[in-house]
Point group: C2
Chain length 299, copies 2
């Protein structure tokens, strides 16, 4: 039940009302792995520069994250700098230095080719297609993307969409992708373009999951002290796919629980910078918050 | 188990992507009554002008809404005109003619003084205080307000807040009222200022209910064809208080269900202009959608 993730590894400099960090580990592949590895072994494919300090991610080894697919290239690691507004919903990007990530060509180690679960984090859709082609018989493929690709590589993205089982995107992205404002109608259309399952993230307002025969709506878990929202979406995906990797069937019921696990793990992650909080917590903490989450939605 | 509502009665001219209506019945007291009367008898206090056509609201009589408190004054009825943006979340007010509502002084008929449930719709807090003073022993009092009073009559509003059991407001209002952005923290503070129960409405993102010992989060009911959002908040309040009026105890569990009923009735109301949809549906339709709503939040 191993999970393959292909995505970015970054050094983030983030400033929020709660403080700031400089060059702290981040990127979609790391946030995803830190979350999914609570549930199942993770195979990570990505690239860093020679400046990357592996001590940063040493704890992931103890959590069954395999780094054989992590290349070290000559040059510097992808860097992103951002500042959040006081409402934590908006942020300004201060800089984006792609560095070694600019020429990233995911190379899937042979021993990863039997990965059963695949998460295509937000990278160029052309690369996502290559990754899909290299995994012969996945049980479940999950796609993330962003506005940049919706605008810039629409045709390639549409091809990826037609090939995956699950697509996770946020409310703005599905509106841009479909041209439909009402997310329920937008979701119905997108479900005809390939994915069997859609998860529409609404940030502090929770998430909606749609399949051809199910509709599930989950609020966000209430967090009083949001320290840094960076990576919340990838942590959500990690909890979501991580939980599904433990399930013997991909039923609507399990998809619903997967959304709840994603929500809960994301709620932990925003309580600290980088993935510091995920380092501290245990699977038992996750189960405990799941129970709290279930209680606060029951009527 | 009768409910008293004191609020506005208006003739609304509304334009949305789905069409337009001119001088159609609206206002907080009418929307509330049309909703709450699915559950319990409603005593309405308000004012209209001589131009008001009572045929508009004849159906409410058959639903146990008592109009003895509805005064007809010389002049014209309160009129509001608005146009919704295509996203249905924003609207421009085209005009507000207070007319007879400008000098509204709620006069509570003697036979209303034993009302057990009181809804103070959005009117001047000074008037809300007078209404409270005239009901000697209510079981439950519920307050609505708006930014206008938060800014303009803060002290009087704070006095009303200190006297009511439940306050219903939206996310922007609680932020303005408390000066705290995080609604969970804002809610905690507001709970110390009087109300035992807070309901924070988030429009298309659902609602949160907080008490001193409970926290409940409900998504919105997904509506694919939103025709007119006008009155949704008052319909929510009507479903909420209407349901509570049928309960023998005011338990957290019943408050949660009340939020769900409010959500469901509001979801019906936005499917048509004015309260046309509420005229068509039965209590059974409400129960049926409640069941759908419960199913789509369960995990």
């Amino acid at each position: 039940m191993s999970i393959l993730v292909v995505g970015s590894i970054a050094l983030d400099s983030v400033e929020t009302q709660q403080g700031k960090v400089t060059d702290s580990p981040g990127g979609s592949a790391l946030f995803f792995s830190a979350s999914a590895s609570f549930f199942a072994p993770v195979n990570m494919v990505g690239v860093v520069g020679e400046d990357f300090d592996f001590n940063h991610i040493d704890f992931l080894k103890n959590k069954n994250v395999d780094f054989m697919g992590l290349k070290v290239e000559k040059g510097e690691t992808f860097r992103w700098g951002g500042r959040y507004h006081s409402n934590m919903n908006q942020r300004d990007t201060l800089y984006t230095y792609l560095n070694v990530f600019e020429t990233f060509k995911p190379s899937i180690p042979d021993k990863y080719r039997n990965s059963e679960y695949v998460f295509l984090a937000n990278i160029d859709p052309e690369l996502q297609l290559q990754v899909l082609a290299s995994i012969p018989s996945p049980i479940l493929t999950v796609l993330d993307t962003m506005n940049f690709w919706i605008g810039g590589k629409r045709q390639e993205l549409q091809e990826v969409i037609s090939q995956v089982d699950v697509m996770i995107l946020n409310d703005e992205e599905i509106r841009e992708l479909t041209g439909i404002h009402n997310i329920h109608l937008a979701g119905k259309q997108l479900l005809q373009e390939g994915p069997k399952v859609l998860v529409i993230k609404k940030g502090e307002h929770g998430a909606v999951m749609m399949t051809t025969d199910d509709y599930f709506s989950a609020p966000a878990f209430p967090v009083e002290n949001v320290v840094d929202p960076t990576g919340a979406g990838d942590c959500f995906a990690g909890g979501f796919l991580g939980y599904l990797a433990t399930c013997s069937t991909l039923s609507n019921e399990n998809y619903r629980k997967a959304v709840a696990y994603g929500t809960v793990i994301a709620s932990f992650n925003v309580e600290s910078f980088s993935f510091n909080k995920l380092k501290e917590i245990s699977r038992q903490d996750i189960e405990s918050r799941m129970e709290t989450f279930r209680n606060l939605t029951r009527f």
